[in-house]
């Protein structure tokens, strides 16, 4: 009972905070992501998101934290339209994507970089080919592809490994390849679902360094994570989800859970 009341209080506080934030804005044009009363029910009846309201400004770095099953992955999948919200509006780059036509989804995805815990590299392609793949499938011009792939491999520090195959790389290196691939089309926003989930602490810091560099170039970064050390040491805005609701939203916040 007591815990539930506390939780409810925190929810109300977070809501009123985010509402204040909207009012404080003269313009919504600098929102990268804006969710208004977003609900998600899975076909089996599980309510994974329960009325989420939040905005992420252009250029921001945001952690999404919360216990397992809180709805972090659902939240992430909503942004690049792997999932449609059951109710509510989601603006990405000021365009409502909640009722985006299926044929329009590819053009949304070209504006969003996505990184996952499991890297999703193609084992039979080299590092160079894995990154170039992302540009080939959107029919980018070959001369552009070469130039851009070298640029992003340089950014993630893997220019010297471009002929290696994924299984010849460490986990951290593989994740850096996948990050290079996600940003090679210069998306204004990068979203990552537990990007350090499979990596040891040392390697995780290297990955965070890559994210920092990408963020410094002006790219908005939204990262769902379980990594307490990182959240507590590299301070950024923290959005905490529990039971599909935003229960906390703090600038330079803490992780706030044990381990």
């Amino acid at each position: 009972m007591q815990r539930n009341r506390e939780r409810l209080d925190r929810i109300c506080l977070a809501r009123s905070n985010s509402i204040k934030k909207y009012r404080g804005n003269n313009s919504n044009m600098d929102n990268m992501i804006l969710m208004q009363n977003v609900w998600k029910a899975y076909p089996n009846g599980v309510m994974a998101l329960n009325g989420v309201d939040l905005s992420v400004k252009k250029g921001e770095f945001v952690y999404v934290v919360g216990p397992s099953g809180a709805g972090k992955s659902t939240f992430i999948k909503m942004i690049y339209r792997e999932l449609k919200p059951t109710r509510g509006k989601i603006f990405v780059n000021n365009k409502n994507i909640a009722n985006l036509k299926n044929r329009q989804v590819p053009y949304l995805r070209r504006k969003i970089g996505v990184v996952f815990q499991d890297f999703k590299l193609l084992p039979k392609l080299t590092v160079y080919e894995n990154v170039a793949f992302a540009l080939e499938v959107i029919e980018e011009h070959p001369s552009q592809i070469k130039k851009r792939v070298m640029e992003v491999l340089d950014l993630v520090g893997l220019k010297h490994k471009l002929r290696s195959f994924p299984d010849q790389l460490s986990g951290g290196e593989q994740q850096r390849v996948s990050i290079a691939r996600s940003i090679c089309n210069r998306p204004p926003v990068l979203i990552a679902d537990e990007p350090t989930g499979n990596l040891d602490p040392e390697t995780s810091w290297q990955i965070m360094d890559v994210f920092r560099r990408i963020n410094e170039q002006g790219t908005t970064v939204v990262m769902a994570t379980h990594n307490k050390d990182i959240v507590n040491h590299i301070r950024h805005r923290v959005i905490a989800l529990e039971g599909g609701m935003v229960v906390r939203d703090e600038q330079e916040g803490e992780y706030g859970y044990e381990a």
Partner: protein
């Protein structure tokens, strides 16, 4: 149909890539591709053989159908007056559309004509013509020949009456049954091939589903993902129709040039070689392509939902 509005002309570079991908997939999954192509081949061979028979039966039935004649042969002793009288009475029979006189000489000539050039053996018939004079009655419908024939038979000076008898009806019944059985058979075979191709392509897709997933996450359109599979299916279908087409040419060449002179003695004319081979080949390649594309496109759909 497969590209976005305002970008209807696909880049040559992109088409190149799709072609390369589909060939690669076709050879990489060599045995599965071979199995699918064989399945198409087997179905199309059966379909082809069936269609050869069916098309010809249809034509023969059509020929017979147009044959709405009743031949009324006259007694040798019939006088000119009796002949005129008979003609009037024949014209009076219900359903008779026209009555024309065929002299015994004309009758023999047209018989010899229909037997083809190889009629030297009938030379002695010219000297001793066994045919009587005849009236040829035409009816509107083949069925009416039966009634007309039985009425004509009862008239004076009529030696004999000949018409298609039951053969017309029996042939039509037979063709109809053949047609229905054949359609069921063909559909069954074709669905089996579609299913087999779909399964092969599904296997290649399962192996490449991660690739498709990544493509979609990078913002590739469904059309872009689908093209290589579309081409792969098309290729399998067309490759599968090559042997059936060859077989049609060989088999029909044999059938047409060896059997038709025998058949023509039974007044049966087959569909000409050229017509049959051209039409059936196009049809088989078309069916093959359709099977391939259908199989591949239907199996890729599920994997595009990312």
């Amino acid at each position: 149909m497969m590209s976005r509005k305002g970008n209807t002309v696909m880049k040559l570079r992109t088409m190149n890539r799709h072609l390369r991908e589909s060939f690669r997939s076709l050879t990489r999954n060599g045995w599965m591709s071979f199995a699918s192509i064989s399945a198409v081949t087997v179905s199309l061979v059966l379909v082809a053989m069936f269609l050869i028979v069916m098309f010809n039966l249809n034509k023969i039935a059509g020929d017979v159908e147009n044959d709405v004649e009743v031949k009324v042969y006259l007694d040798q002793s019939t006088t000119a007056a009796q002949q005129n009288q008979l003609e009037e009475r024949l014209k009076g029979i219900a359903d008779v559309q026209s009555v024309s006189f065929v002299s015994r000489k004309e009758g023999l000539n047209s018989l010899l004509d229909s037997l083809g050039t190889d009629s030297n053996q009938f030379q002695d018939l010219q000297r001793e013509n066994p045919l009587p004079n005849a009236f040829v009655l035409k009816t509107n419908q083949p069925e009416q020949t039966i009634q007309v024939a039985s009425e004509a038979r009862n008239l004076p000076n009529v030696a004999d009456v000949r018409y298609g008898k039951g053969t017309v009806e029996r042939l039509f019944k037979f063709v109809n049954i053949m047609r229905n059985v054949g359609i069921v058979l063909i559909l069954g075979l074709l669905f089996t091939s579609v299913f087999l191709i779909a399964n092969t392509i599904k296997l290649t897709i399962v192996a490449r589903r991660r690739e498709i997933e990544i493509m979609k996450l990078c913002g590739a359109t469904n059309a872009f993902v689908r093209w290589p599979y579309f081409i792969e299916g098309l290729l399998m279908g067309i490759l599968g129709s090559l042997i059936p087409v060859t077989l049609v040419i060989v088999v029909y060449h044999f059938a047409y040039y060896n059997l038709s002179s025998n058949l023509s003695q039974m007044f049966i004319r087959l569909i000409p070689f050229q017509t049959m081979v051209t039409n059936l080949s196009l049809l088989l390649v078309g069916i093959g392509a359709l099977i391939g594309v259908w199989g591949s496109v239907s199996s890729v759909r599920k994997f595009l939902k990312i």
